[in-house]
């Protein structure tokens, strides 16, 4: 079973959840990231997601390993979509199961924040009057050494 995937096709939510079902679990949390129409009042028509697929899968696996080390007994599955997505389409689904519910919420939150830091996936917003690649929203993050620092990724 592939727990970490990049998909050109629409994501089937239940199949991601099914991957983390385990007898030891008391909770499964599911995060569903969707395409929003308005960002700071600006209307998006559609998005294009692009990935460095081989590395993106490795980095998703890394996130899963980090979670399984930090939250004992957890199991993680993540699928991220690429290609053209319309408003309300599903961009990412993260499922985490853990023995107790607090860990399932925390670990799932950790996964989406980490995706936004280290997984090589980019989105291009298309508006009525133009288009632009989006990078950490305001382009405020610099990487002086050329890669993410421990401090950048340990939130």
């Amino acid at each position: 079973m592939k727990f970490y995937e990049i998909s050109k096709e629409p994501i089937h939510i239940q199949s991601v959840i099914d991957k983390v079902v385990q007898r030891e679990a008391g909770a499964i949390t599911t995060f569903i990231g969707t395409v929003r129409e308005l960002t700071h009042g600006k209307k998006t028509l559609f998005l294009i997601y692009e990935a460095y697929e081989a590395m993106a899968v490795k980095k998703l696996e890394q996130i899963g390993q980090e979670i399984e080390e930090r939250w004992g007994g957890s199991r993680v599955a993540i699928t991220h979509r690429v290609g053209r997505l319309d408003i309300t389409d599903i961009a990412v689904v993260i499922a985490v199961s853990t023995p107790h519910r607090a860990d399932a919420y925390e670990a799932n939150r950790y996964a989406i924040e980490r995706i936004k830091e280290i997984v090589p996936i980019w989105k291009k917003e298309h508006w009525e009057d133009g288009e632009e690649w989006i990078g950490n929203q305001l382009e405020t993050v610099a990487y002086p050494s050329g890669k993410p620092e421990a401090g950048d990724v340990d939130e």
Binding site: Y52, A54, K58, K116, V119, W122, S145, G146
Partner: protein, 77 residues
Amino acid sequence: MNKVLFFAHLRDVVGEEFLMVEAAGKTVAELKAELAGKYDLPRLETVMTAINEEFASNDEVIKDGDEIAFIPPVSGG
């Protein structure tokens, strides 16, 4: 030879998904500087680098056959 991959706005600027270049013996920083000058690449200080699908620092030395990727700030999720 080395395959150098570009993504997002860098791909738009270069006009190619990848270039084949001779980068063996150079550091990541040297390769960045060379390509930045040649293609007028913007905001390279915000761009991370991967060697063989793993993040690499600017002082890492590139070997023949390594696959290099320039990773602009990511925006998945």
